[in-house]
Amino acid sequence: MQLTLWTYEGPPHVGAMRVATAMKDVHYVLHAPQGDTYADLLFTMIERLPRRPPVTYTTFQARDLGSDTAELFKTAARDAFERFKPAAMLVGASCTAELIQDDPGGLARALELPIPVVALELPAYQRKENWGAAETFYQLVRTLAGPKVATPAVPRPTRAEGARPRCNLLGPTALGFRHRDDLREIRALVERMGIEINVTAPLDATPADIARLGDADFNVVLYPETASQAAHWLKRSFGQPFTRTIPIGAGATREFIAEVAQLAGIEAPALEDERSHAPWYARSVDSTYLTGKRVFVFGDATHAVAAARVASREMGFTVVGIGTYSREFAREIREAAALYGVEPLITDDYLEVEARVAELQPELVLGTQMERHIAKRLGVPCAVISAPVHVQDFPARHSPQMGFEGANVLFDTWVHPLMMGLEEHLIGMFRGDFEFHEDAAPSHLGGHVGTPAGVETPTLIEIVKEQAPAATAPEIVIDRHAEGPPAGITAMWAPDAEKELRKIPFFVRGKARRNTERYAQDHGVPVITIETLYDAKAHFSR
């Protein structure tokens, strides 16, 4: 048993729903108790779909338990087929139905429906949402494209002379973070390279499209979480190679273009056009203040690894931590962590993430909506880079993460919660002015939302005082929410040292404070005096 307050991923059948809902002409019959229909509202409310997900639930109740539930399933499947006339059907069980051991696959076969029926085995007590989506997509691909697999030893027919190379775009689903816009962006990018798109799947694909997957020369994998299992199978079965680069960030997009060109057997075109603003913005002097800002990255592995790369190489941040909630992709995160010389964090317990953020004291958190709340509580600026996300991260405007426009979006999104350099500079110059003082919240944040890095709202004395009771309380992880940052601060600031600290320009003051406190802690100094302040300065400037 695992004690859980918040879960990063839903159960695997929600992953299956994400695939079914993304597609056209597919219907999913889910053996599930009354209540499991709650998952519909993820699609109708968070993603704001104007239609119901194509899912029929058997909604069995206690009085149905026994032999009745199998019959209930058959009736539901038969009715769903007659009503929706899908071109293919998925059948499976949710966690409770898994326990009562009706066999949806066998029951559906007995109905002898005139369409392909894919039976899903989704172990709800071992696996989670992303795995469920990947498995569902893989099973669909196997069932629908499988009959076209060539006999072994028959070589793949070469492309006709003059014919354009063709690829599939794999991975985007319903309820995917920016999948809609990423797809539009990458589709345009690939088409501008002169490559034909054979099929995009699962999003917008029909079962007939899935059956045509083998016609492409290679595959573009946008989200390994959902597509890599299917891509591996397509490689084995049709000899289609697939891309490994995730085109998030301008640099990765350039690499992606090169990789796609190589797989397509064409010359890599120079596509970096006038729409690529982010690299210039990052070089402009206003961005100098971003240098070395300490950033913590958490999310699904694909987005976390990509974000860390952009943060470090395109924004000039320092990655102080990286982690993921998906154990399936722990290896990727460990590799990335080694690259930045930080500890990887592989956990689906958001309290552990919170503890790590509190410990690292980053100046920016890039994460999911959970990290958004953690950061808000700890007063750290934050931007969202990965699912799970709430309704505001399914925006009306075009807002990709991938491609050159995606890089522009990332720049704006990540810099926005930080105080703009010019603004920071002006406030520094007019320090003490009644409007432009250092405690003023950045104009674009409105009100007093959080405490942006570099802005010291309460004095340190106040913070230490507030935290004193928390320090003596037992280690209560859940309670920590209410108290803000955990009591890592042991040294008290003497009033004159506090005063002296405030003479340091406030945009480096946060760093000075952190360094001094660390110094005090390391050297067992109970009260920080002016002496300690300058000792620490000398210590760290070596």
Binding site: T59, S94, L99, P474
Partner: protein, 426 residues
């Protein structure tokens, strides 16, 4: 005791046939009740024993509330728990011990059963007893089931309160006392407490109370008023302890509130003059607030999908106080006895349905083209996309809607979507 509402044989919908349907049900399970119950009982913690689906459901339904130091969590069953039952009990002890160490302020812990825990027959009652003995007197541990196979949405509250009833202290004597049953918003509860005091009804308590230690006492002198229509098991448990239910419609709208208060007034011998004097200002204010909404809602046709069992009282309020026409009133479960007064007030010939066959009900709804559809969030946007105007029903459970002062707010919940549609089209 004079009857609350004169009921003539054959009047209203008392004997009306009810369409009973079985099929796919687009409803929440009882676990959802935790979301408002934990706000109400301030030192209670709700530990769901279930699957990742249960945790995901609560988090989806609770939205951002999950971050405000929630007093609910899920003990997620994994494969090891499914392998053997003895093991699961040990695991549960471990999880609860850890939880209570972390949350020393908790006084009441509910082990909430779910579909998976019910299907594998995990004995939560025994676990609750064992843990209660272990942690007493600091913490009491109770259990109830909020599983989808047994409960629909608000029935979770019924199961929770029914679990509390055997724990209520016996009152020292059988003096008449009034108990209001059903979680109400604090503001509504306070208004009712003031009204009962002005009526001169001395001993009034509310179940659930805001703190575990202040749950009301019960005796054969206890008369209880249901504030919510979904409390069948709780009422039965209260009656088993000698308390008696006061039959009344539910306190929605001016008329419902008046009749509900009158049931108590009559039982406690409050004079008609006093009742008139105390309730007149509230009734008058409610009437003024409702007049505005009647202009927009009068004559509109409304369709209720089943959700919370509040549908019939709401339909009664809308039809009688706002002249709304009822196309179909669906309810997940119809308790004939508790809703007798409500049914009598519904216009004759109202189409009533109990249970659900989602696709067939959608067909009926589309064919009827009502002006307003009350439904869950899974259906609301899809129906809007089809050109129907909807009111999402969960809000009716979370918003303070009972009593005189909220009558206008309640009406506004229904007028706002209509008004919005008008504005956006204009």
């Amino acid at each position: 005791m004079s009857p609350v509402i004169p009921i003539r044989a054959g009047s209203g919908c008392s004997d009306a046939p009810v369409r009973r349907e079985r099929g796919q049900r687009e409803v929440f399970c009882g676990l959802t009740g935790i979301i408002w119950l934990h706000r109400k009982i301030q030192d209670a913690f709700f530990l769901v024993v279930g699957s990742r689906t249960c945790a995901h459901l609560i988090q989806s339904a609770a939205g951002v509330m999950i971050f405000a130091e929630p007093r609910f969590a899920t003990a997620i069953l994994d494969e090891r728990d499914l392998a053997g039952l003895a093991d699961a009990q040990d695991e549960l002890d471990r999880v609860v011990t850890r939880l209570l160490q972390r949350r020393p302020e908790i006084r009441l812990l509910f082990l909430v059963g779910s579909c998976p825990s019910e299907v594998i027959k995990l004995d939560l009652a025994r676990a609750a007893q064992r843990l209660s003995a272990q942690f007493s007197p600091a913490v009491r541990v109770l259990n109830y089931s909020g599983s989808g196979i047994e409960t629909t949405f608000t029935q979770g509250e019924d199961a929770c309160l029914a679990a509390l009833v055997p724990q209520l202290a016996a009152a020292s004597d059988d003096a008449p006392a009034l108990m209001v049953v059903g979680a109400l918003a604090d503001v509504v509860e306070d208004q009712f407490a003031r009204l009962f005091a002005e009526l001169g009804i001395g001993s009034v308590s509310f179940l659930p109370a805001r703190r575990a230690a202040r749950m009301p006492a019960i005796s054969a002198g206890t008369r209880f008023l249901l504030a919510q229509p979904f409390l069948a098991d709780t009422a039965r448990a209260l009656e088993a302890r000698g308390a008696r239910r006061l039959a009344a419609p539910f306190p929605l709208g001016a008329e419902g509130t008046t009749a509900w208060l009158r049931a108590a007034a009559d039982a406690f011998g409050v004079s008609a003059a006093r009742f008139e004097r105390v309730t007149a200002p509230g009734r008058e204010r409610a009437a003024r607030a409702l007049a505005r909404h009647r202009l927009l809602l009068g004559g509109k046709r409304i369709f209720f999908f089943p959700d919370s069992q509040l549908e019939i009282p709401l339909a009664r309020f809308l039809s009688r106080e706002l002249q709304v026409e009822l196309v179909e009133v669906g309810t997940p479960y119809l308790h004939r006895q508790h809703l007798a007064e409500e049914l009598a007030l519904l216009p004759e010939g109202t189409a009533l349905s109990e249970g659900q066959h989602l696709e067939q009900q959608l067909d009926r709804c589309r064919a009827a083209r009502p002006d307003l559809v009350v439904c869950g969030l899974g259906l609301a946007n899809p129906l809007e996309a089809e050109g129907l105007t909807t009111k999402w029903s969960i809000e009716l459970v979370f918003t303070p809607v009972q009593g005189y002062e909220q009558a206008g707010d309640l009406a506004e919940l229904f007028t706002r979507p209509l008004l919005r549609r008008e504005k956006l089209v204009a």
